[in-house]
Symmetry: C2
Subunit: 124 residues, 2 copies
C-alpha cells in the first residue's frame, strides 16, 4: 500500500562533502537514511557518471523517495527527502546523509506536499 497523500519534502543542498563518487557509500547512506526516517525502500537506483565523477540516484520508497545528485569536483550534493505519512521523519534521514557525506547544509527548505498543506489528510 502506498502511504497517504500527505507529505513533507525536505530539500537540502550540501557543500564540502566527501565520498561523492562512491556508489557503495551513497547507497548505504540512502538505505540508512530511510531506516532513520522509518520509511521502506522499494528499490535503489544509482548512476555513476564515471571515475572521479558524480552520481545521480534515488531510493524509491513506499512513502515517496530520497534522491541525490553529486558533484565531487565541487564537493556538492543535492538531496531530496520526500516522505509521506505521519510517522516519517525526514529530518532524521537528512541527519544520516549529512553525517555519511561529511557535508554542511548550505540551503534547506521543508515543503508540505499534497494534503499536508491543508491539514486535511493529517486528521486521525
Amino acid at each position: 500500500m502506498p502511504a497517504p497523500a500527505t507529505g513533507l519534502h525536505l530539500i537540502a543542498d550540501l557543500a564540502d562533502c566527501h565520498g561523492l563518487c562512491d556508489v557503495a557509500l551513497i547507497e548505504a547512506a540512502l538505505r540508512e537514511a530511510a531506516d532513520a526516517a522509518h520509511v521502506h525502500v522499494l528499490s535503489v537506483h544509482l548512476h555513476p557518471f564515471g571515475p572521479e565523477q558524480g552520481v545521480t540516484g534515488v531510493a524509491l520508497l513506499a512513502e515517496s523517495h530520497i534522491s541525490i545528485h553529486s558533484w565531487p569536483e565541487e564537493g556538492l550534493a543535492a538531496i531530496d527527502i520526500f516522505v509521506c505519512g505521519p510517522l516519517a521523519d525526514a529530518e532524521a534521514a537528512l541527519s544520516v546523509i549529512v553525517a555519511r557525506l561529511g557535508g554542511a547544509i548550505r540551503y534547506r527548505q521543508a515543503i508540505p506536499r499534497l494534503g499536508a498543506r491543508t491539514g486535511a489528510a493529517l486528521a486521525p
Copy 2:
C-alpha cells in the same frame, strides 16, 4: 558527463488527474517530458502498488531527475522536475505531464538549487 551544478527544481502537486494507475502512460509522460525539457533520460523506474493503486517512480536524468507519486483514488499526483544546466526547460516538462495526466496544478514552486541560487554557476 553530468550537467553543471546549477539547477532549477520545479515542484507541482496536481489534482483531478486520470491515468494514475497506468504505468505505461506514466512512463511515456516522463519520457516525453524529458524530451520537452531538452534533457537526457538515463533510466526510468516505476513501482505500481497494485491494481487500482498508485505508482511511484522516477526518470533519472543526466541533468538530475523527474519523479512522480500518484494517488488515483484521490486523483492526486506529486511531480518533481529537477533539471540542471542552462538549456533545461522544466516548465516545458511540467506542461507535458499536466497534459498527459489531464490534471490541474494545485500548488507549484520553482526552487533554484546549488549554483543557481548565487548565479555563480550560471555565468557563461
